[in-house]
Amino acid sequence: MDDFPYIEVAGENTFIVYCGKDMEKGVLGRVRRIDQAVRSEFGSMVIDTIPSYASLLVIYRADQVNGSDMKLRLEVCVTEVDESQKILEVERVVTLPVWYGFEAGADLKALAESKRLRSEEVIALHQEKEYQVYAIGFAPGFAYLGEVDERIAVPRLSTPRKRVPCGAVGIAGRQTAVYPSESPGGWNLIGRCPVRMFDLQASEPMPVRVGDCVRFEAIDRDQYMDLGGQL
């Protein structure tokens, strides 16, 4: 990590702080520490930040501070952050129920066949690991989780689906995610989750934040329906 972190211009009121180059828990920890430091140092002078994998985007009030001053202050702030600093935001472990199977997961069969596994093995491997939330984006509430076991890692579909249902659980490369709303998408679908990943009306619209951990737990169709799942 010798060359990191470093700051690059992103736009007229935005810098991006690169904190590493890999999808890795340690790098994400650094991103979150820097995010925390930037927010507390700059307060309302920062309009928004976006932590994602190995970088932090910082959007600031360019009407209050010019670019060169902001870059200097950001450099000082970023270099003062060290690995021993505690991340104040509590890291939660969130368990998400999933109804796995051929009916709920249109790509489960093909995925199992391509990896020479039985579908039960795919389902077991998906539940075995605890995943880190590395980023949120693509659509509101879409949390990128990593990393899935190499034995069930498959590339995105060559032709994305026009319509992926809300709650669909998919795999793309070594990442997995729950679709927060109906949308187009190219991830390999293996099940459905009844928990709403994004609720516009709720005071806390998402059950997870960047840095949280997620576990998946198999449920059957009846449980899925009881938990409010939609078909």
Binding site: E8, V9, A10, G11, E12, N13, T14, I16, K21, D22, M23, I47, D48, T49, I50, P51, S52, Y53, A54, S55, L56, L57, I59, A62, D63, N66, G67, S68, A135, I136, G137, F138, A139, P140, G141, F142, Y144, S181, F198, L200, P205, M206, R209, V210
Partner: protein, 293 residues
């Protein structure tokens, strides 16, 4: 419906939304003596008929669309007093793409995360439907006009000043040459998320990258080589290499471009870009409106 935009919620994936042409939106509101960022209608291309049911004041600013009240032509870039029963008609734009219709006191719409900005892709708000009743705030009685010399012009080509940033250095020399020497036209697949430019193809660095935060105006280059200038409804993170970002004052001009319009890029450094933005903002604030009787 658009207000100034939704800010501070990128970390859960919510984009900003807000008016694509900030300048026209600003004038429409100011001509109604509204607060900065009051909710107004963004009309793309035109074709709107509305009946006024209260006594109020409206102003229309932006791409030239013929405005008629009860069949009589009215000027854009000034406010007009309306009576209950008046019929407002906005025809189709003869140039440019978007016009803002503001009303005294602003339109009233449900706020999500502190903003009324409609972002259809996120399921926040929806396009207006025939028969829908819009609420507006209390009216004042002043009528104003923007002096002719301050009215923005919508031209047949656009120069996009780009602040080099993000992965700019990782693009090849050829890519840089194409960016600055190439000829681009606005694609008809462009929308509020981003404007796709066709014509010259920019060589994209072939390297896997982790998704990272995207800011307004960022220019991303997917493997097909067609640059996309990201606008107000842009996704918050993305994994395509980016050349930097276009200055906001040029984004408003780009968003007024219909398909086939020619675009070219120029480089500008951060300091000059910020000066440009501050200058434009000062100029707007110091512009004095003419009072109409």
């Amino acid at each position: 419906m658009q207000d100034a935009g939704r800010f501070g919620h990128h970390s859960i994936g919510l984009t900003s939304g807000g008016p694509l042409d900030w300048e026209a939106f600003y004038w429409a509101n100011r001509l109604c003596a509204n607060e900065h960022g009051a909710t107004a209608l963004e009309v793309a291309q035109g074709g709107v008929r509305m009946e006024c049911i209260v006594e109020t004041i409206i102003a229309v600013a932006g791409a030239p669309m013929p405005l008629r009240v009860n069949g009589r032509t009215k000027a854009l870039w000034r406010s007009h007093k309306l009576q209950p029963g008046d019929m407002i008609e906005l025809g189709y734009a003869t140039k440019g793409m978007r016009t803002y219709l503001a009303v005294s006191g602003g339109f009233k719409a449900e706020e999500f995360f502190g903003s009324t900005a409609t972002v259809i892709r996120e399921g926040i708000g929806y396009p207006l439907k025939a028969g829908q009743k819009l609420q507006c705030g209390p009216a004042n009685d002043e009528q104003w006009a923007l002096p002719m010399e301050s009215v923005p012009r919508y031209s047949d080509s656009v120069t996009l000043r780009l602040i080099p940033g993000y992965q700019f250095e990782q693009f090849s020399r050829t890519a840089h040459d194409t960016l600055l020497g190439g000829d681009f036209t606005v694609s008809n697949r462009s929308d509020r998320m981003g404007y796709i430019l066709e014509g010259s193809l920019i060589e994209s660095p072939e390297r896997e990258m982790l998704s990272e935060g995207i800011c307004l105006g960022a220019v991303q280059v997917p493997p097909d080589g067609r640059p996309i200038v990201l606008l107000n409804d842009h996704q918050t993170i993305g994994g395509y290499p980016k050349l930097g970002s276009v200055v906001s004052v040029d984004l408003w001009k780009l968003a007024q471009c219909p398909p086939e319009i020619h675009a070219r890029f120029e480089l500008v450094d951060l300091e000059a870009a910020q000066e440009m933005v501050n200058y434009e903002s000062k100029k707007r604030r110091s512009t004095r409106l003419k009072r109409c009787v």
